[in-house]
Protein backbone atom coordinates (compact mmCIF):
# COMPACT_ATOMS: atom_id res chain seq x y z
CA UNK A 1 0.00 0.00 0.00
CA UNK A 2 1.26 3.41 -0.98
CA UNK A 3 0.36 6.59 0.83
CA UNK A 4 -0.99 9.26 -1.49
CA UNK A 5 -2.13 12.60 -0.21
CA UNK A 6 -5.33 13.98 -1.67
CA UNK A 7 -3.25 16.50 -3.59
CA UNK A 8 -1.11 13.77 -5.10
CA UNK A 9 -4.21 11.90 -6.17
CA UNK A 10 -5.71 15.01 -7.71
CA UNK A 11 -2.41 15.92 -9.38
CA UNK A 12 -2.04 12.51 -10.97
CA UNK A 13 -5.64 12.51 -12.13
CA UNK A 14 -5.23 15.97 -13.56
CA UNK A 15 -2.23 14.79 -15.59
CA UNK A 16 -4.23 11.81 -16.82
CA UNK A 17 -7.12 14.04 -17.79
CA UNK A 18 -4.91 15.37 -20.60
CA UNK A 19 -5.24 12.01 -22.37
CA UNK A 20 -8.99 11.99 -21.87
CA UNK A 21 -9.13 15.41 -23.50
CA UNK A 22 -6.77 14.40 -26.31
CA UNK A 23 -8.69 11.21 -27.10
CA UNK A 24 -12.00 13.11 -26.98
CA UNK A 25 -10.75 15.70 -29.43
CA UNK A 26 -9.37 13.07 -31.81
CA UNK A 27 -12.62 11.11 -31.74
CA UNK A 28 -14.75 14.23 -32.09
CA UNK A 29 -12.73 15.64 -34.99
CA UNK A 30 -12.41 12.26 -36.73
CA UNK A 31 -16.08 11.54 -36.13
CA UNK A 32 -16.95 14.94 -37.57
CA UNK A 33 -15.07 14.25 -40.81
CA UNK A 34 -16.48 10.75 -41.26
CA UNK A 35 -19.94 11.91 -40.17
CA UNK A 36 -19.89 14.69 -42.74
CA UNK A 37 -18.97 12.19 -45.45
CA UNK A 38 -21.85 9.96 -44.34
CA UNK A 39 -24.38 12.79 -44.40
CA UNK A 40 -23.21 13.85 -47.86
CA UNK A 41 -23.43 10.25 -49.08
CA UNK A 42 -26.93 10.02 -47.74
CA UNK A 43 -28.02 13.24 -49.45
CA UNK A 44 -26.16 12.72 -52.65
CA UNK A 45 -26.16 9.00 -53.26
CA UNK A 46 -29.11 6.98 -54.39
CA UNK A 47 -31.17 4.57 -52.39
CA UNK A 48 -28.27 2.19 -51.94
CA UNK A 49 -26.03 4.76 -50.30
CA UNK A 50 -28.88 5.95 -48.15
CA UNK A 51 -29.64 2.43 -46.94
CA UNK A 52 -25.97 1.71 -46.32
CA UNK A 53 -25.58 4.81 -44.17
CA UNK A 54 -28.77 3.97 -42.28
CA UNK A 55 -27.44 0.47 -41.59
CA UNK A 56 -24.09 1.89 -40.45
CA UNK A 57 -25.83 4.22 -38.02
CA UNK A 58 -28.10 1.44 -36.77
CA UNK A 59 -25.13 -0.87 -36.12
CA UNK A 60 -23.13 1.71 -34.18
CA UNK A 61 -26.11 3.00 -32.23
CA UNK A 62 -27.38 -0.52 -31.57
CA UNK A 63 -24.24 -2.10 -30.13
CA UNK A 64 -22.35 -1.20 -26.95
CA UNK A 65 -19.37 1.10 -27.37
CA UNK A 66 -17.41 -1.34 -25.20
CA UNK A 67 -17.93 -4.15 -27.72
CA UNK A 68 -17.00 -1.79 -30.55
CA UNK A 69 -13.75 -1.04 -28.75
CA UNK A 70 -13.03 -4.75 -28.28
CA UNK A 71 -13.78 -5.42 -31.95
CA UNK A 72 -11.42 -2.65 -33.04
CA UNK A 73 -8.75 -3.89 -30.67
CA UNK A 74 -8.97 -7.58 -31.58
CA UNK A 75 -10.07 -6.98 -35.17
CA UNK A 76 -6.97 -5.01 -36.06
CA UNK A 77 -4.95 -7.65 -34.28
CA UNK A 78 -6.29 -10.24 -36.71
CA UNK A 79 -4.48 -8.46 -39.52
CA UNK A 80 -1.26 -8.83 -37.64
CA UNK A 81 -1.20 -5.12 -36.88
CA UNK A 82 0.46 -4.33 -33.59
CA UNK A 83 -2.49 -2.53 -32.04
CA UNK A 84 -1.72 0.29 -29.69
CA UNK A 85 -4.62 1.36 -27.47
CA UNK A 86 -4.35 4.77 -29.15
CA UNK A 87 -5.23 3.38 -32.56
CA UNK A 88 -7.93 1.02 -31.34
CA UNK A 89 -9.57 3.57 -29.05
CA UNK A 90 -9.17 6.46 -31.48
CA UNK A 91 -10.51 4.40 -34.37
CA UNK A 92 -13.47 2.91 -32.53
CA UNK A 93 -14.49 6.21 -30.94
CA UNK A 94 -14.18 7.96 -34.31
CA UNK A 95 -16.57 5.50 -35.95
CA UNK A 96 -18.91 5.65 -32.95
CA UNK A 97 -18.97 9.46 -33.02
CA UNK A 98 -19.41 9.54 -36.79
CA UNK A 99 -22.59 7.44 -36.59
CA UNK A 100 -24.16 9.72 -33.99
CA UNK A 101 -23.05 12.94 -35.67
CA UNK A 102 -24.32 11.71 -39.03
CA UNK A 103 -27.70 11.06 -37.46
CA UNK A 104 -27.79 14.43 -35.67
CA UNK A 105 -26.80 16.32 -38.81
CA UNK A 106 -29.24 14.39 -40.99
CA UNK A 107 -31.99 15.56 -38.66
CA UNK A 108 -30.77 19.14 -39.07
CA UNK A 109 -30.69 18.90 -42.87
CA UNK A 110 -34.15 17.31 -42.85
CA UNK A 111 -35.40 20.26 -40.82
CA UNK A 112 -34.67 22.59 -43.73
CA UNK A 113 -37.92 23.11 -45.66
CA UNK A 114 -38.12 21.32 -49.02
CA UNK A 115 -38.82 24.65 -50.68
CA UNK A 116 -35.25 25.71 -49.99
CA UNK A 117 -33.91 22.77 -52.01
CA UNK A 118 -36.43 23.46 -54.77
CA UNK A 119 -35.58 27.14 -54.86
CA UNK A 120 -31.90 26.23 -55.14
CA UNK A 121 -32.78 23.75 -57.90
CA UNK A 122 -34.63 26.43 -59.82
CA UNK A 123 -31.48 28.55 -59.72
CA UNK A 124 -29.66 25.69 -61.44
CA UNK A 125 -27.16 25.33 -58.60
CA UNK A 126 -25.07 22.20 -58.54
CA UNK A 127 -25.34 19.80 -55.59
CA UNK A 128 -22.23 21.26 -53.99
CA UNK A 129 -23.46 24.81 -54.45
CA UNK A 130 -26.88 24.00 -53.06
CA UNK A 131 -25.30 22.46 -50.02
CA UNK A 132 -22.77 25.20 -49.51
CA UNK A 133 -24.84 28.29 -50.16
CA UNK A 134 -28.38 27.29 -49.26
CA UNK A 135 -28.73 24.25 -47.04
CA UNK A 136 -25.55 24.08 -44.96
CA UNK A 137 -25.70 27.64 -43.59
CA UNK A 138 -29.24 27.07 -42.32
CA UNK A 139 -28.64 23.51 -41.11
CA UNK A 140 -25.47 24.59 -39.32
CA UNK A 141 -27.39 27.01 -37.14
CA UNK A 142 -29.65 24.21 -35.90
CA UNK A 143 -26.76 21.76 -35.64
CA UNK A 144 -24.47 23.67 -33.29
CA UNK A 145 -26.27 23.00 -30.01
CA UNK A 146 -26.82 19.23 -30.39
CA UNK A 147 -23.30 18.81 -31.81
CA UNK A 148 -21.74 20.49 -28.79
CA UNK A 149 -24.06 18.40 -26.61
CA UNK A 150 -22.76 15.24 -28.25
CA UNK A 151 -19.20 16.20 -27.33
CA UNK A 152 -20.20 15.39 -23.75
CA UNK A 153 -21.13 11.86 -24.85
CA UNK A 154 -17.74 11.50 -26.53
CA UNK A 155 -15.84 12.65 -23.44
CA UNK A 156 -17.77 10.18 -21.31
CA UNK A 157 -17.29 7.51 -23.96
CA UNK A 158 -13.52 7.78 -23.72
CA UNK A 159 -13.79 6.36 -20.18
CA UNK A 160 -14.44 2.97 -21.78
CA UNK A 161 -11.07 3.08 -23.50
CA UNK A 162 -9.63 2.36 -20.05
CA UNK A 163 -10.87 -1.22 -20.45
CA UNK A 164 -8.67 -1.89 -23.49
CA UNK A 165 -5.71 -0.47 -21.60
CA UNK A 166 -5.76 3.16 -22.68
CA UNK A 167 -4.36 5.09 -19.72
CA UNK A 168 -6.67 8.04 -19.30
CA UNK A 169 -8.63 9.42 -16.38
CA UNK A 170 -10.61 6.30 -15.44
CA UNK A 171 -7.68 3.91 -15.88
CA UNK A 172 -5.47 6.17 -13.80
CA UNK A 173 -8.17 6.21 -11.14
CA UNK A 174 -8.19 2.41 -11.11
CA UNK A 175 -4.41 2.30 -10.90
CA UNK A 176 -4.31 4.76 -8.01
CA UNK A 177 -7.07 2.80 -6.28
CA UNK A 178 -5.06 -0.39 -6.61
CA UNK A 179 -2.08 1.34 -5.02
CA UNK A 180 -3.87 3.18 -2.23
CA UNK A 181 -6.99 1.12 -1.48
CA UNK A 182 -9.03 4.29 -1.25
CA UNK A 183 -11.66 3.71 -3.95
CA UNK A 184 -14.21 6.05 -2.42
CA UNK A 185 -11.96 9.10 -2.52
CA UNK A 186 -10.30 8.25 -5.83
CA UNK A 187 -13.47 7.50 -7.80
CA UNK A 188 -15.17 10.55 -6.30
CA UNK A 189 -12.23 12.63 -7.57
CA UNK A 190 -12.39 10.94 -10.98
CA UNK A 191 -16.11 11.69 -11.18
CA UNK A 192 -15.51 15.32 -10.23
CA UNK A 193 -12.84 15.63 -12.94
CA UNK A 194 -15.24 14.34 -15.57
CA UNK A 195 -17.86 16.68 -14.22
CA UNK A 196 -15.45 19.59 -14.50
CA UNK A 197 -14.76 18.63 -18.12
CA UNK A 198 -18.32 17.89 -19.19
CA UNK A 199 -20.44 20.35 -17.30
CA UNK A 200 -19.17 23.51 -19.03
CA UNK A 201 -19.74 21.83 -22.39
CA UNK A 202 -23.27 20.83 -21.36
CA UNK A 203 -24.01 24.32 -20.13
CA UNK A 204 -22.67 25.81 -23.35
CA UNK A 205 -24.85 23.50 -25.43
CA UNK A 206 -27.89 24.42 -23.36
CA UNK A 207 -27.21 28.13 -23.73
CA UNK A 208 -26.82 27.76 -27.49
CA UNK A 209 -30.10 25.92 -27.62
CA UNK A 210 -32.09 28.51 -25.71
CA UNK A 211 -30.54 31.27 -27.77
CA UNK A 212 -31.46 29.53 -30.99
CA UNK A 213 -35.02 28.99 -29.81
CA UNK A 214 -35.32 32.66 -28.87
CA UNK A 215 -34.00 33.79 -32.23
CA UNK A 216 -36.50 31.78 -34.13
Amino acid sequence: MVEFSLWQILGNLLLAARWTVALSLIAFAGGGVVGLALVTARLRGGRGASLAVAAYVQVFQGTPLLIQLFLAYFGLGLFGIDVSPWIAAGGALTLYASAYLAEIWRGCVDAIPRGQWEAADSLALSFGEKLRHVVAPQALRIAVAPTVGFLVQVIKGTALASIIGFVELTKTGTMITNATFRPFTVYACVALMYFALCWPVSACSRRLETRMRRDR
Partner: protein, 229 residues
Amino acid sequence: MAAAMIQLDFAAVLVDWPLLLRGAALTLALTAVATVLGGALGIACARARTHGPTPARVLAAAYVELIRNTPFIVQLFFIFFGLPSLGVRLSSEAASVIAMTLNLGAYAAEIVRAGIEATPLGQLEAARSLALTERQVFLRVVLPPSLGRVWPALVSQVVIVMLGSAVCGQIAAQELSYSTNLIMSRNFRSFEANFVAAGLYLAMAVALRQALAWAGPRWLFGRSAPRGS
Protein backbone atom coordinates in the same frame (compact mmCIF):
# COMPACT_ATOMS: atom_id res chain seq x y z
CA MET B 1 -0.88 -12.01 -47.87
CA ALA B 2 -1.60 -11.47 -44.23
CA ALA B 3 -5.28 -11.21 -44.95
CA ALA B 4 -5.39 -14.69 -46.45
CA MET B 5 -4.14 -16.20 -43.22
CA ILE B 6 -7.01 -14.90 -41.15
CA GLN B 7 -9.20 -17.76 -40.15
CA LEU B 8 -12.36 -16.99 -38.32
CA ASP B 9 -13.98 -19.68 -36.27
CA PHE B 10 -17.43 -18.68 -35.17
CA ALA B 11 -18.42 -22.24 -34.36
CA ALA B 12 -15.99 -22.19 -31.43
CA VAL B 13 -17.96 -19.30 -29.99
CA LEU B 14 -21.45 -20.44 -30.88
CA VAL B 15 -20.86 -23.80 -29.20
CA ASP B 16 -21.09 -21.87 -25.93
CA TRP B 17 -24.59 -20.70 -26.71
CA PRO B 18 -26.04 -21.54 -23.29
CA LEU B 19 -23.54 -19.15 -21.75
CA LEU B 20 -24.40 -16.42 -24.24
CA LEU B 21 -28.09 -16.98 -23.65
CA ARG B 22 -27.69 -16.74 -19.89
CA GLY B 23 -25.70 -13.54 -20.29
CA ALA B 24 -28.28 -12.02 -22.61
CA ALA B 25 -31.03 -12.98 -20.17
CA LEU B 26 -29.27 -11.23 -17.30
CA THR B 27 -28.65 -8.15 -19.46
CA LEU B 28 -32.38 -8.00 -20.19
CA ALA B 29 -33.28 -8.63 -16.55
CA LEU B 30 -30.97 -5.87 -15.32
CA THR B 31 -32.42 -3.56 -17.96
CA ALA B 32 -36.00 -4.42 -17.04
CA VAL B 33 -35.49 -3.66 -13.34
CA ALA B 34 -33.53 -0.49 -14.09
CA THR B 35 -36.20 0.65 -16.54
CA VAL B 36 -39.00 0.36 -14.01
CA LEU B 37 -37.06 1.86 -11.10
CA GLY B 38 -35.23 4.44 -13.21
CA GLY B 39 -38.44 5.45 -14.94
CA ALA B 40 -40.14 6.01 -11.59
CA LEU B 41 -37.12 7.92 -10.30
CA GLY B 42 -37.09 10.04 -13.44
CA ILE B 43 -40.76 10.90 -13.11
CA ALA B 44 -40.29 11.77 -9.43
CA CYS B 45 -37.36 14.05 -10.26
CA ALA B 46 -39.20 15.63 -13.16
CA ARG B 47 -42.10 16.39 -10.82
CA ALA B 48 -39.72 17.74 -8.19
CA ARG B 49 -38.13 20.03 -10.78
CA THR B 50 -41.42 21.32 -12.16
CA HIS B 51 -43.73 21.34 -9.13
CA GLY B 52 -41.57 20.82 -6.05
CA PRO B 53 -40.39 23.24 -3.37
CA THR B 54 -37.06 24.99 -3.97
CA PRO B 55 -34.85 22.53 -2.01
CA ALA B 56 -36.33 19.60 -3.95
CA ARG B 57 -35.76 21.47 -7.22
CA VAL B 58 -32.13 22.15 -6.38
CA LEU B 59 -31.52 18.60 -5.20
CA ALA B 60 -33.10 17.08 -8.30
CA ALA B 61 -31.18 19.43 -10.58
CA ALA B 62 -27.87 18.61 -8.84
CA TYR B 63 -28.52 14.87 -9.18
CA VAL B 64 -29.42 15.18 -12.85
CA GLU B 65 -26.37 17.29 -13.69
CA LEU B 66 -23.99 15.10 -11.70
CA ILE B 67 -25.11 11.90 -13.41
CA ARG B 68 -25.38 13.35 -16.90
CA ASN B 69 -21.89 14.79 -16.78
CA THR B 70 -19.99 11.75 -15.53
CA PRO B 71 -19.38 8.42 -17.33
CA PHE B 72 -21.49 5.43 -16.41
CA ILE B 73 -18.41 3.30 -15.74
CA VAL B 74 -17.20 5.77 -13.10
CA GLN B 75 -20.63 5.79 -11.46
CA LEU B 76 -20.57 2.01 -11.44
CA PHE B 77 -17.06 1.80 -10.00
CA PHE B 78 -17.92 4.37 -7.36
CA ILE B 79 -20.96 2.38 -6.26
CA PHE B 80 -19.27 -1.03 -6.40
CA PHE B 81 -15.75 -0.22 -5.19
CA GLY B 82 -16.28 3.06 -3.36
CA LEU B 83 -19.39 2.51 -1.27
CA PRO B 84 -18.04 -0.51 0.69
CA SER B 85 -15.75 1.88 2.54
CA LEU B 86 -18.94 3.45 3.92
CA GLY B 87 -20.05 0.00 4.99
CA VAL B 88 -22.37 -0.50 1.99
CA ARG B 89 -21.39 -3.82 0.44
CA LEU B 90 -23.26 -4.75 -2.72
CA SER B 91 -23.28 -7.76 -4.99
CA SER B 92 -22.17 -6.95 -8.53
CA GLU B 93 -25.71 -7.43 -9.81
CA ALA B 94 -27.15 -5.10 -7.16
CA ALA B 95 -24.49 -2.49 -7.87
CA SER B 96 -25.23 -2.78 -11.60
CA VAL B 97 -28.95 -2.31 -11.11
CA ILE B 98 -28.42 0.67 -8.81
CA ALA B 99 -25.99 2.33 -11.20
CA MET B 100 -28.26 1.72 -14.19
CA THR B 101 -31.27 3.00 -12.26
CA LEU B 102 -29.52 6.16 -11.14
CA ASN B 103 -28.19 6.71 -14.66
CA LEU B 104 -31.53 6.20 -16.40
CA GLY B 105 -33.32 8.24 -13.72
CA ALA B 106 -31.27 11.34 -14.48
CA TYR B 107 -31.81 11.19 -18.24
CA ALA B 108 -35.47 10.22 -17.87
CA ALA B 109 -35.98 13.18 -15.53
CA GLU B 110 -34.90 15.61 -18.23
CA ILE B 111 -36.92 13.88 -20.93
CA VAL B 112 -40.09 13.67 -18.83
CA ARG B 113 -39.66 17.26 -17.69
CA ALA B 114 -39.72 18.39 -21.31
CA GLY B 115 -42.96 16.46 -21.75
CA ILE B 116 -44.50 17.98 -18.63
CA GLU B 117 -43.54 21.50 -19.62
CA ALA B 118 -45.30 21.05 -22.95
CA THR B 119 -48.64 20.47 -21.20
CA PRO B 120 -51.20 23.00 -22.47
CA LEU B 121 -52.26 25.38 -19.69
CA GLY B 122 -55.91 24.83 -20.50
CA GLN B 123 -55.66 21.18 -19.45
CA LEU B 124 -54.37 22.19 -16.02
CA GLU B 125 -57.11 24.75 -15.64
CA ALA B 126 -59.75 22.26 -16.73
CA ALA B 127 -58.44 19.68 -14.26
CA ARG B 128 -58.38 22.18 -11.40
CA SER B 129 -61.88 23.37 -12.20
CA LEU B 130 -62.99 19.79 -11.58
CA ALA B 131 -61.57 20.13 -8.05
CA LEU B 132 -59.01 17.39 -8.56
CA THR B 133 -56.21 17.42 -6.01
CA GLU B 134 -52.73 18.41 -7.21
CA ARG B 135 -51.71 14.79 -6.98
CA GLN B 136 -54.63 13.68 -9.13
CA VAL B 137 -53.96 16.45 -11.61
CA PHE B 138 -50.38 15.29 -11.98
CA LEU B 139 -51.01 11.55 -12.14
CA ARG B 140 -54.19 11.59 -14.24
CA VAL B 141 -54.03 14.71 -16.37
CA VAL B 142 -50.43 15.84 -16.74
CA LEU B 143 -48.34 12.66 -16.65
CA PRO B 144 -49.94 10.26 -19.17
CA PRO B 145 -49.95 12.63 -22.17
CA SER B 146 -46.50 13.90 -21.13
CA LEU B 147 -45.13 10.37 -21.30
CA GLY B 148 -46.83 9.93 -24.65
CA ARG B 149 -45.14 13.05 -26.01
CA VAL B 150 -41.64 11.96 -25.03
CA TRP B 151 -42.00 8.20 -25.33
CA PRO B 152 -39.65 7.79 -28.34
CA ALA B 153 -36.89 9.65 -26.48
CA LEU B 154 -37.46 7.57 -23.35
CA VAL B 155 -37.31 4.36 -25.36
CA SER B 156 -34.01 5.45 -26.92
CA GLN B 157 -32.64 6.17 -23.48
CA VAL B 158 -33.62 2.73 -22.20
CA VAL B 159 -31.82 1.18 -25.18
CA ILE B 160 -28.74 3.30 -24.40
CA VAL B 161 -28.79 2.10 -20.79
CA MET B 162 -29.15 -1.52 -21.94
CA LEU B 163 -26.11 -1.13 -24.21
CA GLY B 164 -24.25 0.68 -21.46
CA SER B 165 -24.78 -2.29 -19.15
CA ALA B 166 -22.05 -4.08 -21.12
CA VAL B 167 -19.68 -2.34 -18.73
CA CYS B 168 -21.21 -4.18 -15.76
CA GLY B 169 -19.19 -7.24 -16.78
CA GLN B 170 -16.17 -5.33 -15.52
CA ILE B 171 -17.42 -5.73 -11.94
CA ALA B 172 -18.24 -9.39 -12.69
CA ALA B 173 -21.98 -9.02 -13.14
CA GLN B 174 -22.56 -12.05 -15.34
CA GLU B 175 -24.34 -10.34 -18.19
CA LEU B 176 -23.68 -10.73 -21.90
CA SER B 177 -20.30 -9.01 -22.10
CA TYR B 178 -19.15 -11.07 -19.12
CA SER B 179 -20.13 -14.25 -20.96
CA THR B 180 -18.24 -12.93 -23.97
CA ASN B 181 -15.13 -12.37 -21.88
CA LEU B 182 -15.42 -15.85 -20.43
CA ILE B 183 -15.66 -17.39 -23.90
CA MET B 184 -12.70 -15.31 -25.05
CA SER B 185 -10.58 -16.55 -22.18
CA ARG B 186 -11.47 -20.15 -22.95
CA ASN B 187 -10.85 -20.31 -26.68
CA PHE B 188 -8.99 -17.08 -27.48
CA ARG B 189 -11.45 -16.36 -30.31
CA SER B 190 -11.63 -12.74 -29.16
CA PHE B 191 -12.81 -11.15 -32.37
CA GLU B 192 -15.43 -13.79 -33.11
CA ALA B 193 -16.76 -13.71 -29.55
CA ASN B 194 -17.19 -9.94 -29.63
CA PHE B 195 -18.66 -10.08 -33.10
CA VAL B 196 -21.31 -12.53 -31.94
CA ALA B 197 -21.94 -10.40 -28.85
CA ALA B 198 -22.35 -7.30 -31.03
CA GLY B 199 -24.93 -9.17 -33.12
CA LEU B 200 -26.82 -10.24 -30.02
CA TYR B 201 -26.79 -6.73 -28.57
CA LEU B 202 -28.01 -5.33 -31.88
CA ALA B 203 -30.88 -7.82 -31.98
CA MET B 204 -31.74 -7.03 -28.37
CA ALA B 205 -31.65 -3.29 -29.04
CA VAL B 206 -34.00 -3.60 -32.00
CA ALA B 207 -36.34 -5.95 -30.14
CA LEU B 208 -36.37 -3.79 -27.00
CA ARG B 209 -37.17 -0.71 -29.04
CA GLN B 210 -40.06 -2.48 -30.77
CA ALA B 211 -41.38 -3.94 -27.53
CA LEU B 212 -41.37 -0.61 -25.70
CA ALA B 213 -42.87 1.25 -28.64
CA TRP B 214 -45.66 -1.31 -28.56
CA ALA B 215 -46.09 -1.45 -24.79
CA GLY B 216 -46.05 2.28 -24.01
CA PRO B 217 -49.32 3.34 -25.64
CA ARG B 218 -51.05 0.19 -24.42
CA TRP B 219 -50.18 0.32 -20.75
CA LEU B 220 -48.91 3.74 -19.87
CA PHE B 221 -50.67 6.45 -21.78
CA GLY B 222 -53.32 4.76 -23.87
CA ARG B 223 -56.26 6.54 -25.33
CA SER B 224 -58.65 4.95 -22.88
CA ALA B 225 -59.12 6.96 -19.72
CA PRO B 226 -57.43 5.51 -16.64
CA ARG B 227 -59.81 3.45 -14.58
CA GLY B 228 -60.34 3.54 -10.83
CA SER B 229 -60.63 6.45 -8.46
